[in-house]
């Protein structure tokens, strides 16, 4: 088995070596080497796997424009939080899971 080696990689926020969204990539369960404590991030110095991102299509109520926003789910201190990114001035959205 060939190893992937991660060293001195830095994420300023999440996933020093890598971050994945939703399903873990296959290679994550295979052999990877994180050298010492050289990878760094605020959340997940080696990898961040604890957040899930969903995509929502947002409609403006009086227009045909379709905008794409992102809803993220974060787990912090045992609770699950959802928040929208980049919604800005859109007054309404619809949610469906």
């Amino acid at each position: 088995m060939s190893f992937n080696t991660f060293s001195n990689n830095i994420a300023s926020i999440e996933g020093g070596a890598f971050k994945y969204v939703e399903t873990a990539p296959v290679f994550l369960t295979q052999n990877n080497v994180f050298v010492g404590e050289t990878n760094n991030a605020i959340y997940g110095p080696n990898y961040a796997a604890y957040s899930v991102k969903m995509r929502l299509k947002i409609f403006e109520p009086l227009g045909d424009d379709i905008n794409l926003a992102k809803m993220s789910i974060f787990f912090l201190t045992g609770k699950r939080y959802y928040f929208f990114e980049k919604l800005k001035t859109i007054p309404y959205c619809m949610i469906l899971q």
Binding site: N4, N40, L56, I95
Partner: protein
């Protein structure tokens, strides 16, 4: 030069300051010339509307020749042409916005093999600084490219179901990216890419958009081994070295093995690699000194859970806030 033979051999010639609408030095089509062999020849300071050497339905062998200081693309072939380039030198080329592929353009089921070539100092105002492909096959062995500027795919751009194989080659000092592929199959082995000059290029052209070193969009097959990508800093938000995006592909396959990603960065996601699909196999790679905000080395996004809402469903009102926190469970 008008050609009326089926075989043309050009040896020890010098094409200087010629001008024409198409093929300022030489243009060939099958009915007049099916095979061209050019060797020990210099093409210099030719100008015109399209290309220095052009043709269709033609086989070209181009060896031991220099193409320098022309103001139009050097070689343009289409419609099932076959080209072999060997031991050639391409340098000091400037092309306008209408000229995709500043040195070589290949379209419509054409094939090209480049074995042993040096490319130096290209400034293109269009895509595909060195070579641009559409629906064609490219094989590169032993190519050295240095100092290439374009708007996209500074060294190589392949689109529309092209097949690209690159072996034992090096690319250095390029902007804004090195290679751009869409809807194409990619195989690379022992390729060295380093030192983006995007930061310098953007000083003279503030409108220039940054990009990953290699962008691969909807490429069903990506097989990369012994690739080295080094020193590409902060030129894009997604994937400092590789940007891999797959949409509407049934069974895409991406394998990256025995490769090194050193000192690459992205503004946001994936200092070395950004991929929006889980079908990536990584074996024996080294990721070192890469950085980003999310995923210092790699960021895996995904296609899943994109939800479409019909407009008559439940509304949720959002009041006076740009970030809304909702507990849904």
């Amino acid at each position: 030069m008008m050609i009326d033979e089926t075989l043309l051999v050009v040896d020890y010639c010098y094409f200087l300051e010629n001008e024409s609408n198409s093929g300022s030095a030489l243009y060939a089509i099958e009915i007049m010339v099916r095979y061209i062999a050019i060797q020990n020849t210099i093409f210099m300071e030719n100008t015109g509307a399209d290309c220095v050497i052009g043709g269709m339905y033609t086989t070209l062998i181009f060896a031991y020749s220099n193409v320098t200081n022309n103001t139009i693309k050097a070689i343009s072939f289409t419609k099932k042409s076959n080209l072999t380039l060997s031991a050639c030198f391409f340098a000091f080329q400037q092309c306008s916005t209408s000229s995709k592929g500043c040195f070589i353009t290949l379209t419509l089921n054409s094939f090209i093999i480049i074995y042993g070539a040096v490319v130096y100092d290209v400034v293109s105002e269009s895509e595909g600084g060195f070579i641009y492909l559409e629906s064609s096959n490219l094989t590169i062995v032993l190519l050295t490219v240095m100092q290439v500027l374009a708007t996209q795919g500074a060294c190589v751009e392949g689109t529309k179901y092209s097949d690209v194989i690159i072996q034992n080659s090096s690319f250095q000092y390029y902007s804004p990216d090195c290679m751009y592929f869409s809807d194409s199959n990619i195989m690379m082995q022992n390729v060295n890419i380093s030192d983006s000059i995007y930061a310098l290029a953007v000083m003279s052209n503030p409108d220039l958009t940054g990009a990953s070193v290699i962008t691969m969009i909807n490429c069903p097959l990506i097989v990369i081994s012994q690739l080295q990508i080094n020193n590409n800093m902060g030129i894009t938000d997604y994937g400092g070295a590789l940007f891999i995006q797959m949409q509407d592909l049934d069974n895409p396959m991406s394998i990256i093995s025995d490769s090194t990603f050193y000192a690459n960065s992205a503004g946001q996601w994936g200092g070395a690699i950004y991929i929006n699909n889980q079908n990536l196999t990584l074996l024996g790679n080294t990721f070192m000194n890469n950085n980003a905000q999310y995923g210092g080395a790699i960021y895996f996004d995904c296609q899943g859970n994109e939800i479409f809402f019909p407009p008559n469903l439940k509304f949720l009102k959002i009041l006076h806030s740009q970030i809304v926190i909702i507990l849904i469970m």
